[in-house]
């Protein structure tokens, strides 16, 4: 028997007529525009509006084709809902017009002149081609559209990679393939990124973290390059216009309105390649900015609900961008939760990194909450249950929560202290041996009682120097951003290795190469989740610019020519990532205790210096070695080798005494950042079993296992 004909439903028939449109009272949930039998259901919330209209456009038309005011009986609570029949959803653009008081002192900023974007719009048109100048006189810029959420996922299912096994690769959809050297069919798009999946596989990363892909306006930056006069962009995209819509300008098929399918197709193919997708999401502020900013959506629908306001109705600014989203208001919590559920259910997204997440635990008046309901809700939500939740655990108003972000046993954090410690140690600063050990052990000082995957370890990220620039510049060089070099962080803990910027000197270049390898070695052998900034594996440079948020050009783009010209670093990175995957002892989720819990005769972690079992914690110490006992891998549940990692941040070489291995085992050389790196499984045995000569500014990784019988 076939399914009952859906048109037999009573609610598939209109009850009212507004002009030529046949309508009926709609369903308040879900919010936004949802295709229903015979029509489209529109639902929008506004507490303070005195009237609400649905504004319809033919696709691309400058003026509305119709404006349908919601009849009073179509309102339930503060939600206006209407089903409109007979619409051609594909050629439809819509928005809302809310009228009400303009009384900023009381928080109201209604503007009956504006057509407002639907906060729940699944698709946005108006910016389909990246960087194309729009008609600024257009009455409605960010046009809501109806989406059929009917993508055919085939057998796709979440990979559910254990958090501690992740190697995250942070990148930007456009920047990854926009450079002409990418040789993809559609540079700078989701489709282009899909063509680079083989590269990612070969690199060995298993989690792609994408800078914002929610619709934003790259053209809302008023600045120009002070030298060339060229337009500067909002390239990174931390200025969300629409939270449920994928950025159309990142889709080769955006002009066809098919950005959702294109993005989903990318996610599906990444999953097939064993790579999870984490989205960088920005719930702390919106593109509407402060009182000078444009009225796009929230401000005109319910300003006082969506934004944190002072008692006088001014915008609080904990985000550094003019406004702050009122995340712990019940309506906004619901919005954030629905949004994330949408990305998980409809786009199969595996996790989220929350920009300036400390704001998410502020009360509507800005005070930090001890038990922020939004964070708790996200941690326990059934649809988000297995997604990764990563907090950038600070905000722009001084709330710094690295180590004490409310986590509910679920949240991880970008470990800013890890970044700073590793940078300072490798640079050669004294007094850091002890802290480096703590960081490499998964920062138990910060995350005691949590698994070590609470710590997302990173040395570089989009925000700051690239790895190559970290070892090539003492100071930031942000002049091209048009802010007199005042933007971007000044405390970079960087060292140029003897010359500022590009160097022709062989010894400077060699030192820089070693320093990059040293940093990567520490990152990939530390406990916690490593995150790599895209391009660092080939020494991508931004010529000293540590804040390229506005640079849509070669400063930001991944130059694929480097895959050949910097093959040495790429090879090193690939092998190092493979080494991490091959050694579960590095990916144990419990913090090591320094004791022997499995009767192996060795503690799970032990610390060494120039002498075995003799770490030098003194201020002048610049050598640290860590040995992980393989018998403790994953709590003693899987077998692994011993791994020994030594870092020498000193300007002189040292002869290290190696800890003795159990009978029959020998130390094998995986990598020496000054000399060679070997394929996993093909590490040669050390000629001198008990010692290792480690050069200045170098790191070594040894693996201890039974000597291969055929080894000479």
């Amino acid at each position: 028997m076939s399914t009952q004909d859906i048109r037999e439903r009573i609610d598939a028939f209109p009850t009212h007529r507004i002009g030529p449109y046949r309508v009926r009272a709609g369903r308040p949930l879900p919010y936004g525009a949802t295709p229903v039998p015979g029509g489209v259901n529109f639902s929008v919330y506004s507490d303070g509006a005195t009237s609400m209209s649905l504004v319809l456009f033919e696709r691309g038309a400058t003026q509305p084709s119709a404006e349908l005011e919601f009849p009073p009986e179509f309102r339930i609570g503060s939600v206006y809902a209407m089903t409109v029949f007979g619409l051609d959803a594909e050629n439809l653009e819509y928005g809302f017009r809310a009228d009400g008081p303009f009384d900023p002192a009381r928080g109201d900023r209604f503007d009956g002149v504006k057509v407002l974007s639907d906060p729940y719009a699944r698709l946005i048109s108006g910016r389909e081609v990246w960087g194309r100048e729009p008609d600024w006189d257009n009455v409605y810029h960010y046009r809501s559209q109806v989406l059929n959420d009917d993508f055919d996922w085939g057998g796709d299912r979440p990979l559910r990679i254990p958090a501690e096994d992740l190697v995250i690769y942070e990148t930007h959809v456009r920047g990854f393939t926009r450079h002409p050297s990418s040789k993809v069919s559609a540079p700078g798009t989701y489709a282009g990124m899909r063509e680079k999946i083989p590269y990612l596989r070969e690199l060995g990363v298993n989690c792609l973290e994408l800078l914002p892909v929610f619709e934003f306006d790259e053209l809302d930056n008023p600045r120009t390059d002070p030298v060339t006069g060229e337009r500067l962009y909002n390239y990174w995209g931390y200025n969300t216009v629409s939270f449920f819509a994928p950025k159309a300008g990142y889709a080769a098929t955006g002009p066809f309105g098919m950005q959702a399918d294109e993005f989903k197709s990318l996610v599906k193919e990444l999953h097939k390649a064993g790579i999870e997708v984490v989205l960088d999401v920005v719930f702390n502020h919106t593109a509407e900015g402060n009182e000078q900013g444009p009225t796009i959506s929230f401000r005109g629908l319910d300003n006082a609900t969506y934004y944190m306001l002072t008692p006088r109705g001014e915008y609080y600014n904990f985000s550094g961008t003019g406004n702050t989203v009122n995340c712990n208001h019940p309506v906004v919590r619901d919005f954030v939760l629905s949004c994330l559920r949408h990305w998980v259910a409809e786009y199969h997204i595996d996790g989220f990194r929350f920009d300036l997440a400390a704001i998410l635990d502020r009360a509507p008046d800005g005070t930090p909450l001890p038990n922020p309901p939004l964070l708790e809700q996200l941690a326990h939500d059934p649809i988000l249950r297995h997604t990764k939740l990563i907090a950038e655990a600070w905000d722009a108003a001084g709330l710094y929560q690295v180590g004490n972000f409310p986590n509910y046993g679920r949240w991880s954090e970008w470990n800013g202290k890890y970044r700073d410690t590793v940078r300072r140690f490798v640079k050669g600063e004294p007094g850091l041996v002890g802290e480096l050990a703590t960081r490499m052990a998964g920062s138990p000082d910060l995350y005691q009682g949590r698994t070590s995957s609470a710590s997302v370890n990173f040395i570089t990220a989009h925000d700051g120097f690239t790895l190559a620039d970290l070892v090539s510049y003492n100071d930031k060089h942000n002049e091209a951003n048009g802010e007199n070099n005042n933007d971007g962080a000044s405390d970079n803990n960087s060292w140029n290795c003897g010359e500022e910027g590009p160097s022709a000197l062989a010894h400077v270049r060699e030192l820089r190469m070693r320093q990059m390898k040293n940093l990567l070695t520490i990152l990939l052998t530390s406990q916690g989740i490593p995150m790599i900034l895209a391009g660092d594996e080939v020494g991508r440079t931004q010529l000293g610019n540590n804040n390229t948020y506005c640079q849509d050009n070669e400063l930001s783009w991944f130059d694929w020519g480097r895959v050949e010209t910097n093959a040495e670093l790429l090879d090193f990175s690939r092998k190092l990532i493979a080494f991490r995957h091959a050694h579960p002892v590095l990916r144990t989720s419990d913090h090591p205790t320094g004791t022997d819990r499995v009767g192996s005769g060795y503690p799970d972690v032990s610390w060494h210096g120039v002498g075995a079992w003799a770490p030098d914690w003194a201020d002048h110490g610049r050598v640290l070695a860590m040995m992980r006992c393989g018998r403790h891998a994953k709590g003693g549940t899987v077998a692994d080798d011993h791994v020994y990692v030594a870092v020498n941040a000193h300007w002189e070489a040292h002869d290290l005494e190696l800890p003795a291995l159990p009978d029959g085992q020998r130390w094998h050389l995986f990598a020496d950042t000054g000399t060679a790196v070997h394929p996993v499984g093909g590490e040669p045995e050390l000629k001198h079993p008990g010692r290792f000569h480690l050069g200045a500014h170098s790191a070594v990784v040894l693996v201890g296992r039974a000597a291969h019988p055929t080894t000479a």
Partner: protein
């Protein structure tokens, strides 16, 4: 507006040639015209040489026809994709669901064998 549909029975296969634009206006009608060609175990070549544009709704229609065909163990092959159609289908993942052939005659020969 409709899509012009013409069919030919050939050895081992039915060739259905389409002409026009497949968009939200035409796709509903197209679907009801295509489905009768899909029978148990049938082999259908959909010739898109005469199609200048396929919108999102059009691609969805083709996928629905494909899903119907799967239910009936029928085989659908698309031929004559323009570069643009092919690119859009590839970028959005639709292409992954279909058998695609470059050349109608070669494909007929294969079906007839």
């Amino acid at each position: 507006m409709t899509v012009k549909v013409s069919s030919q029975e050939r050895t081992g296969a039915t060739v259905v040639a389409l002409e026009g634009e497949i968009n939200s206006t035409t796709s509903g009608g197209l679907q009801s015209q295509l489905l009768p060609f899909i029978g148990q175990g049938s082999v259908v070549l959909i010739d898109l040489t005469g199609i200048s544009y396929i919108s999102s709704a059009g691609l969805r229609t083709l996928l629905i026809v494909h899903r119907h065909a799967q239910q009936l163990d029928a085989e659908i092959t698309l031929v004559g994709l323009s570069d643009e159609v092919s690119f859009v289908m590839s970028a959005t993942g639709f292409l992954d669901f279909f058998r695609v052939a470059e050349d109608l005659d070669a494909e007929l020969e294969r079906a007839g064998r």
